[in-house]
């Protein structure tokens, strides 16, 4: 295995771990979204590394990256839409105060 691939995969693993920590520990919706962004960033590094070091001739790998970037943009758009609605309704985007959504 190429050492470069290992460097990229370790970076992805670390970003994924930090993102999981952020998504679970933060009470603020915007901070929570930052955690999800880091998780997706970890996936991005892996995808680019797989393309570069395993299949540089196949551009389907680039497509995967574009799809993950789309997911990042969609997550931000919907997240901020929800944040605005929540802020209008309750004056706060603290998720601790959204326990009634539990059902």
């Amino acid at each position: 295995m190429s050492p470069d691939l290992l460097v990229a995969l370790f970076t992805g693993a670390a970003l994924f771990g930090i993102g999981v920590y952020g998504a679970l520990s933060q009470t603020n919706l915007v901070m929570l979204m930052m955690g999800v962004e880091l998780i997706l960033a970890g996936a991005l590094v892996n995808l680019v590394a797989f393309w570069r070091f395993l299949h540089p001739d196949s551009y389907a790998g680039h497509m995967f990256v574009l799809i993950v970037m789309t997911v990042m943009a969609v997550e931000m758009a919907v997240g901020f839409g929800v944040a605005i609605a929540r802020f209008r309704a309750r004056g706060s985007v603290e998720m601790e105060e959204a326990r009634e959504l539990k059902g």
């Binding site: 290992l6 992805g12 994924f16 009470t27 960033a41 570069r52 931000m76 758009a77 985007v93 603290e94």
Partner: protein, 178 residues
């Protein structure tokens, strides 16, 4: 001997990790947004080091815009965006740290233990930036066209949905009456 590519990949990778961790360490929301911006930019630079020029530049441009918007939202929504009050906005810290470390270690173990297929013989022989963009264009307008179109429609739907959710209820009911 370590190649320049490995060196720059490791350098930008470490920068991305350090700034990524800084997002949740600082008590200032603005600093968090900036740290995330730097982390994503370092990631874009790492893509450039991996000779994925188009994706690297795209990542830097997209994330610069996204994080700027995020910083604006921080100022709008936060009671203390500058972090002067030293507010703690986290919960279940021990569980989160455990889950984060477990996820990172598990991913790293998989990276080491998996039998990755052998890559190309000479890693330096990757298509030039122009050839890559051309090949990606052919891919987008060829067999991946449906996926690409779906991604576009998904973003459009998300934009409409986000706008619909964000419209104040009063305006919504007024529009309904008229």
């Amino acid at each position: 001997m370590i190649s320049w590519q490995t060196f720059f990949m490791a350098f930008f990778g470490i920068a991305a990790i350090v700034f990524g961790a800084a997002v949740f360490v600082t008590s200032s929301m603005m600093r968090s947004a900036l740290a995330l911006l730097f982390s994503q930019t370092a990631l874009g630079a790492m893509f450039l080091a991996m000779q994925a020029e188009f994706l690297g530049v795209l990542q830097i441009m997209m994330m610069a815009t996204e994080m700027s918007i995020m910083a604006i939202f921080m100022v709008m929504f936060m009671m203390d965006p500058g972090g002067l009050g030293d507010m703690d906005m986290s919960h279940q810290k021990r569980l989160s740290i455990l889950a984060g470390v477990a996820a990172a270690v598990f991913s790293a173990v998989i990276a080491i233990a998996a039998h990755w297929p052998a890559g190309p013989e000479t890693l330096s022989e990757v298509a030039s930036a122009g050839a890559q963009v051309r090949a990606l264009g052919v891919e987008l307008l060829g067999r991946s066209m449906l996926i690409f179109e779906t991604a576009g429609v998904t973003i459009l739907t998300a934009m409409i949905a986000a706008t619909a959710v964000a419209i104040p209820p009063l305006q919504r009911s007024k529009a309904h009456e008229s």
